[in-house]
Symmetry: C2
Subunit: 418 residues, 2 copies
């Protein structure tokens, strides 16, 4: 069978499974999730064996230590994956929830009920835990999922999917509810992105390059963020100790992720007092700073930030710093250079906190908190399938609800339109 | 200036206006809407004069009476348009509404706030009232709008937009908040659909052909429905009088619109009793019926429905009728032939009403009501900018809220992520 036919078959089977899964009770879905957790642990030796094939290939290809680390399955990572499944099983099922209901003057009772989106395509890089996590979130929200992982993880992913499908069969859900594209041929991705009849949504997870390639190719709507150029604005009235703590946390707690701070904006009235103390802390933590002219007048030792730096997502212990005249200049900077991801103002001014929350239209806007909280779990969504910086459908961290839509339900007793 | 540059300029100006409009108060937006209503009535003679140029061209091109009718502006239609503006002014502003807010264990207060989408493109056919209605709904929801109407209405549309922009200037909103593509050249549509950097959403309004052309061309997300093949299922337990009334209303009250019934499904146990009475009513109303074999055994005079008929949106006094064995067959028919628009079950069975509401995943699902109620005004949304049968972002009739998205807002007091 050629790849095109193979992918179209997978997509069509996904659609059939999605129609059944949409009507499957929460009880059955949760039972499947819990049994998957058990089965993955039970089959630990087999998973590690299959994973070893991927690791051997990765070592042969001389992949970086960080990549090999993310690819590796161990008793401990499998235990973590199983725990994740139990947590998803414990979340409330969004499907069937009536989010609001109102009565019309003619007596019609009109409501909105959550339903699954249908078939979701996930395109991601070589992390086998994503296979389980994405499959579980899609299934819990009543969607069939078609996954295409990195070629480096193909053995691990097929082994995992095989176990998940085994469980689906035992609880009576069609196994096409969770499918992996079984080939590493790149053509399969293009075919998948052309199945707009059978796949409703694509969620890419990975670096900016992967995501841009997916968006360029896809005929199916894509929910994604390219990058997170997150800003913190230290206002004139900021509490200096709180500001130092939050900026350190936002830059250094995990610099390689999209919600880490990349640019620090400092009000001119607090800069001379705040920046030297802050810079001392950053130096201790190994952060390389780059600054505007005014910043360098206060911190003469640091490199000059170029125009490109303001657009940069370093994903590293590097930070661009700019001194601004006021909140207007801070907001204008974010509007020009920002990525609509996450921005935080540190201030004791009520007026400025309100202005920042109202006027900055990034997907997550904060007062006196670390940008690192921009995350589905931390915000209380219970889970995270991704983050969207596109305003359509979902904006910001996406949990189970964002994998659903609502239909109108109407109870009448014979109403006619006149 | 070439058309490409002209359209890109329009789109860029739209983006700048959108950023300002997003921060404009409800009071200013509502004042603008009320002044637009006044100004349109004040300039009635001028509008009728400009409209006359379009009508002369339409008569010359020998357009149908129905099309000329929809194109015509009179004192009465202008009065209706002005009233529409007053109604939109009176609606609550969705922007800035915090739809929910919750506290995290670490004390972070997390909420979701409605914000505008940005710049919306409307592509529509020759109805000048749409120009005002779409412009008003986009502005009320804080969005800039770029409109491309039918070439038959270009003089009317430019005259209307000129008046609306005059009002924008007086209240201090940039006039680029409401723009019309000033050329009838088709290339302008293609350029508009390629402006994915500056336009966030396209809403086409018109026939299936127009919409398919827009979707095919667009690099921007499109909210649309191709057609409405709406079904009514008369269950065995339906109240026969109620069923006759609702079916007549759904088929004949306004047959040319997308929420009219196109296919009638009748349970076999009620068919012999119900269909002859119903057919008598339909005949009086001039409805042409086409039926399956079982239907024709009861109504021998009618034409046979072919496979194609089940997919057909007649938009006319024509109806396809099928007798089904039970609710499962009815739901399966809708799943196969439906358009995800609107379906209604007529039943006195509690169980079947629940099954239909839960299992039919069309955008609007009803019990004991006419499909004609599937409309933003009738469902209580206050307005309607269009109907979506695509599940992403909005599904079903779309009002002001569907022209917004939500951002996360977070109030902290120094929280760090650990």
């Amino acid at each position: 069978m050629d790849i095109r036919t193979q992918v179209i078959d997978i997509a069509k089977n996904g659609r059939i499974a999605a129609n059944i899964l949409a009507r499957t009770s929460s009880e059955v879905k949760d039972r499947a999730l819990l049994e998957m957790a058990e089965k993955l642990i039970e089959r630990e030796a087999y998973l590690i064996e299959e994973n070893e094939k991927d690791l051997a290939y990765a070592r042969e290809k001389d992949l970086s230590g960080a990549m090999i680390d993310r690819l590796t399955l161990s008793a401990s990572t499998i235990g973590g994956i199983a725990e994740g499944l139990e947590e998803i099983a414990a979340l409330p099922d969004p499907v069937g929830k009536v989010t609001s209901m109102w009565k019309r003057p003619n007596g019609l009772l009109v409501g909105r009920m959550r339903i699954p989106l249908g078939v979701i395509g996930i395109i991601y890089e070589s992390r086998p835990n994503v296979t389980v996590d994405a499959a579980a979130l899609c299934m819990k929200s009543g969607n069939a999922v078609i996954m295409r992982g990195g070629s480096e993880a193909i053995h691990s992913n097929l082994a995992i999917a095989g176990i998940l499908q085994e469980v689906l069969r035992t609880v009576g859900i069609p196994e096409a509810a969770i499918q992996i594209i079984p080939t590493t041929d790149r053509q399969a991705v293009n075919e998948m992105l052309s199945c707009e009849e059978h796949i409703d949504l694509i969620i890419p997870r990975g670096g900016e390059e992967l995501i841009r390639a997916v968006v360029k190719q896809s005929k199916i709507p894509v929910l994604k963020h390219y990058k997170g150029v997150c800003h913190i604005f230290v206002d004139a009235s900021a509490d200096p100790d709180m500001a130092t703590g939050i900026c350190m946390n936002a830059k250094t707690q995990r610099p390689g992720v999209c919600n880490a701070m990349e640019t620090l904006l400092v009000h001119k009235d607090i800069a001379a007092q705040f920046l030297p103390v802050m810079a001392e802390e950053f130096k201790k933590a190994g952060v390389t700073m780059k600054g505007c002219g005014k910043t360098r007048a206060i911190l003469p030792g640091i490199e000059e930030a170029t125009e490109d730096d303001w657009y940069e997502e370093y994903l590293d212990l590097i930070l661009a710093i700019r001194v601004v005249d006021d909140i207007d200049e801070a907001i204008a900077h974010i509007e020009k250079y920002g990525s609509l991801h996450t921005e935080s103002i540190l201030t004791e001014s009520y007026k400025n906190s309100q202005r920042f929350l109202n006027e900055v239209n990034s997907s997550t806007v904060m007062v006196n908190a670390s940008t690192r909280f921009s995350d589905g779990f931390e915000l209380g969504l219970g889970a995270e399938i991704g983050i969207s910086t596109t305003k359509l459908h979902a904006f910001g961290p996406m949990g189970l609800e964002e994998l659903t839509t609502t239909k109108f339900i109407i109870h009448g007793d014979g109403q006619l339109r006149t």
